[in-house]
Assembly symmetry: C2
Homo-oligomer: 189 residues x 2
Amino acid sequence: MKQETRKDEIINTAAKLFKEKGYSAVTMRDLATAMGIKAASLYNHINSKQEILKAIIISIAEEFTSGMNSIIQSEASSISKLESIVALHVNITSNNTNGMASLNNDWMHLEDQLDYYLQLRNEYEANFLGIINEGVTASEIKNSNPEIIMFSMLTTLRSLYLWIPKKEDLNAKNLGQSLSEVLISGINN
Amino acid sequence: MKQETRKDEIINTAAKLFKEKGYSAVTMRDLATAMGIKAASLYNHINSKQEILKAIIISIAEEFTSGMNSIIQSEASSISKLESIVALHVNITSNNTNGMASLNNDWMHLEDQLDYYLQLRNEYEANFLGIINEGVTASEIKNSNPEIIMFSMLTTLRSLYLWIPKKEDLNAKNLGQSLSEVLISGINN
DNA sequence: GTCTATAACACGATAGAC
DNA sequence: GTCTATCGTGTTATAGAC
């Protein structure tokens, strides 16, 4: 575990504030106050507000891409791959709850890196849908609407950042298992 | 169908812009440009930017409260009530896709009406959870974690505004049925 | 109902002292 | 590494002409 630099501290504090009010509503003065310093002092560690947003979002997006690549290269069943995706979201979100809020809500405020982010997101969704379609072909998954299935799963997983902080008693493994069961097997008797 | 006033036109245009960039990132100049007028002219129809946000969010929140009250007063089964909740979200979101984005993402920028909004939201979630708990007691719903069930369903339903505009071929009734099946019966064979 | 002009203030970012 | 002071610009909103 590398020790946290002052720049990391700024980025983590910013992520917390961005979660509460969104990127546009958080000023550099807000961020400085939360750090206990003056706004001008922030610029000794970072070059711009935009750089902070980029640092938060792109690193997480690349984590998802990397995790998805491992999953699609495995030879597990489609259902098992979906369970791995649930676990991937639970793990990344548990480790960076605040950053996930920016990824979900403030990606459109990326400037230089917007196209790159959208590319990663589109690839991720295409891989996700591919797994579901495989599962339908293999009769592991019901032959209903694959896009509705992906939409339902992915929006639930993307919203985990809102919910994990309230449920600290559930560890990541248990949460992943419970959530997989609800998403895959449904809720009715 | 009452005819659209200039004020309604401003509110609807604002909702569209708020969906794209969020309340804080949309300026009165942006809004005026989208309307084809100058920023100062907006103030002949509305009193403040805040008033626009309030008009968008509170009316939708009250629609949900009203719909939920009808559902809990019915004597349907718990599963049937959940299907009605899905239909409620599909209907409201279909009729006001842009406004749903503000409800989900910009409620924290409400000033005077923030407490009222939070009260409506908390009551809605409590009623939702109550229906699930009833279903568990009546053995209609699996005895797993009711909060995870609510979280999963509600976050999917709250994200419908992102998805409905892309799927104009599906009408509200079909979408509601397909989504109910995925959420209630799961996806596996 | 829309315009031009502008008030009053907040914003991101920089310069230079310590 | 943090500060004070400030630049240039953008922000919501108002005043008053047409």
